[in-house]
């Protein structure tokens, strides 16, 4: 049911339209009708926004909702609900489903499913057939079915000729190429960062170079082809430097980082807890420092969670066998506010840029995303900047509980999400 809602005296942050102040906002029939210092309305329900902030709806550029094929971990509906709880209104789903998103029917199915929940899914299709890195996937079909981006995600296309062709073909269709830059041949059997910790723990590691080499090659192919490239979840000092240089040369390169990569380092692996096993792995303090600098100076454009649900049984396996990845949509905003805003790494406008404005721009989302504009559909996140909370496993609504933030004390939370013009939740 499309809402009619008058939000009074809420602090609105909309960097795209240079808004940063306390306002009233009126939503009529799910559309943003008015944004003024003061609005009087007799028909709409009123919501007291005093002490709260309003952001343009958060957008997650990298999630795994596991459907089709792995519904025991997450489904489109459960993932969307979890994301809404975290304050997100939209997400780009990764194509490593089963069957993979290399066929229009799979994309079509995802889009239909997403209509069951007031949430926007912009699915990514694969770059190559079955993500095998051998033949191009039928990207025109995928686009027509509704794909917004293409990626092989965890299967970096190691053949530079094929990657070149894929980038040229995708860019011709206006599909954003997202790259999980990791040369797996160098990663080999590594399950964490290669360095002091891996030696201490008796585990094999993957060196920074496996990311850096891939990033470097992909950037050079962007230079060759002119195709826009989005590097997802970069984790190393080297990658940040390469992206910075690419931007100096005005190449169409963008990048995102996960909340765990701007909060945690490899030392947390001391006890072999598989909730800290992800790819790329948690790295060193030096890498984290570079990530924070990259966020500050705009080298890193966006924050994306790489929400990767896995079942309890899978994460119970021994460290070297357990699947990689952690969930993230329910904790992302809390972690970002705690680690970036409250720690004064980014101000609120900058934070909103990373979590809403820039993702909308990079993905070239339709009008209204990434900003608060009168006349567009209401996709908004209500935030309490100062609410203190502890991340509890039992409170996750995602089907999976493999979070690296369980037990963490956070400050700041999404308390309401308005998506597709509907108020999803209200926690105040």
């Amino acid at each position: 049911m499309m809402i009619n809602l008058l939000i009074k005296q809420i602090h609105i942050i909309d960097p795209k339209n240079k808004v940063d102040g306390v306002f009233d906002l009126l939503i009529k029939n799910g559309l943003i009708a008015e944004l003024k210092k003061e609005i009087k309305s007799s028909t709409a329900e009123t919501l007291d926004g005093k002490g709260l902030h309003l952001f343009p709806g958060l957008i997650d550029m990298h999630v795994h909702f596991r459907e089709p094929g792995f519904e025991q971990k997450e489904t489109i509906v459960s993932g969307a609900k979890a994301a809404l709880k975290g304050g997100f209104v939209a997400a780009v789903t990764m194509p490593n489903t089963n069957p993979p998103c290399d066929h229009q029917s799979v994309i079509d199915n995802i889009i239909r499913k997403s209509n069951e929940v007031p949430f926007y899914i912009f699915p990514a299709g694969t770059l190559t057939k079955e993500r095998e890195g051998k033949e191009l996937s039928e990207m025109a079909d995928l686009k027509r079915a509704g794909a917004w981006a293409v990626t092989d995600d965890g299967n970096w296309v190691s053949d530079p000729l094929l990657m070149r062709r894929a980038m040229e073909y995708a860019s011709m269709l206006g599909l954003l190429v997202i790259s999980h830059a990791e040369d797996k041949r160098l990663t080999s059997t590594g399950v964490m960062n290669e360095g002091i910790m891996s030696t201490r723990l008796g585990l094999k590691g993957t060196p920074n170079a496996s990311e850096a080499i891939a990033v470097s090659r992909d950037i050079l192919l962007t230079e060759l082809t002119g195709a826009p490239l989005h590097l997802t979840h970069i984790s190393t000092r080297e990658a940040v430097e390469l992206v910075r240089d690419a931007k100096k040369k005005k190449l169409p390169v963008t990048a995102d980082v996960t909340p765990h990569h701007f909060s945690l380092t490899e030392e947390v692996l001391e006890h072999y807890d598989t909730n800290f096993k992800m790819m790329p792995p948690l790295r060193t303090a030096e890498d984290l420092k570079s990530i924070l600098e990259g966020l500050k100076d705009g080298t890193i454009d966006a924050i994306a969670t790489d929400h990767a649900p896995h079942t309890d049984e899978e994460k119970m396996e021994e460290f070297m066998d357990a699947p990689v990845g952690v969930t993230g949509v329910e904790t992302a905003l809390g972690v970002a506010l705690t680690q970036l805003y409250h720690e004064k790494v980014l101000n609120l406008s900058e934070l909103v840029m990373k979590m809403s404005t820039r993702p909308a721009e990079i993905l070239k989302l339709p009008n209204g995303f990434g900003e608060i504009k009168v006349g567009t559909e209401a996709n908004l996140t209500l935030v309490d900047l100062n609410q203190e909370w502890v991340v509890k496993e039992e409170e996750f609504i995602s089907k999976s509980k493999n979070s690296c933030f369980i037990g963490s004390k956070l400050k700041g939370k999404a308390v309401g999400t308005i998506s597709r013009g509907k108020l999803w939740q209200k926690q105040f």
Binding site: E194, G195, I196, S198, T199, R200, L201, G202, L203, K204, G205, P207, H271, Y272, D273, E313, M316, E317, E318, F319, M320, D321
Partner: protein, 314 residues
């Protein structure tokens, strides 16, 4: 000795204090003579049950533990099987809990995944003794190695120990490094660059690829087994070439001290890590290691058997 053993488990040397290590070595001394008696048994662990879970094949370590348990009059059960939970279809935790339900007092476990015993020790009330986890640690091997050195050289502080071989994949080396550095020994690790762990110096050791440099002034040379798989994994071009650079033989021993000890956790690849004549020669204490292994394991079982009571009163 005022130190008292309080831990429920022995999962690694990494977390032990120097005093705890010394306690184990001192206790092991008292257990040595039991194996020389006509009746090689003491009733200390009578009525206790120890389960040996060897998910990774091992003959010598398993037999050593079994014998140690029997000499302490414990009842032993041994389980050998496939490692991967996914292969078996049952998680490691469930397998161990099943064994625990048989009311065993202690578990001795060997597993191919580094860190496997740690989670179990944290989550389950039974005592866990690590008999080797992946490439991480092999605590009782290191303890028996240190015991042997101490016995032959009279001390560990200031002793120079050189580890030669595949350090990267060696849990024996790792456990030894933790223990020896805590007790003041000087450790050098040597092997081809490809087989030295990244940032290994952060463990407090010297690293070199030069064999002569490593064994110069070494009091002890501890050799690690080279596995043939490493050749196909491209860590070195061939076993033959490896042996030309890193084999310990009479020629190479000219660089070492005249009373140097040669140690090896076994099994030895004769002619690869070690030449036959050195292996059978006077420097080698490889067989003493095996004998000492029994005393050390008895000491560990004895000390940990006290922990069960603590957990019962919890």
């Amino acid at each position: 000795m005022n130190t008292v053993w309080k831990r429920k488990d022995l999962v690694g040397i990494k977390d032990l204090t120097a005093d705890e290590i010394r306690l184990i070595l001192d206790t092991a001394k008292s257990f040595q003579e039991i194996s020389l008696r006509p009746v090689k048994k003491v009733p200390t662990l009578r009525g206790r049950t120890v389960a040996n879970l060897f998910f990774e094949p091992s003959t010598r370590t398993r037999i050593s533990f079994e014998l140690a348990e029997k000499r302490l009059s414990a009842d032993t059960i041994s389980f050998t099987g496939s490692t991967s939970s996914t292969v078996k279809g049952e998680t490691l935790k469930d397998t161990v809990r099943n064994i625990e339900s048989l009311k065993v007092d202690m578990i001795v476990m060997r597993h191919s995944a580094s860190g496997a015993p740690h989670r179990l020790a944290e989550e389950l009330p039974v005592s866990v003794i690590n008999a080797g986890d992946g490439i991480n640690e092999h605590p009782t091997q290191a303890l028996l190695d240190m015991f042997t050195v101490q016995e032959k050289k009279g001390r560990l502080a200031g002793i120079k120990v050189a580890f030669i071989g595949d350090i990267l994949h060696s849990r024996v080396a790792r456990s030894n490094i933790w223990g020896l550095t805590k007790l003041g020994a000087k450790v050098v690790v040597c092997g081809p660059k490809t087989l030295l762990p990244p940032k290994v110096e952060s463990l407090g050791v010297e690293a070199t690829t030069d064999l002569a440099k490593a064994i110069r002034d070494a009091d002890v040379i501890n050799l690690l087994r080279i596995q043939t798989e490493r050749q196909s994994e491209c860590y070195f071009p061939s076993i033959r070439e490896y042996a030309t650079s890193y084999q310990i033989n009479r020629e190479v021993l000219k660089h070492a001290k005249p009373d140097v000890l040669i140690m090896h956790p076994g099994p030895v690849n004769r002619g690869i890590e070690l030449s036959s004549d050195v292996m059978d020669g006077p420097y080698s204490v490889i067989l003493d290691q095996v004998t000492n292994g029994l005393a050390v394991r008895m000491a560990v079982l004895y000390l940990l058997s006290g922990a069960r009571k603590k957990s019962e009163t919890k």
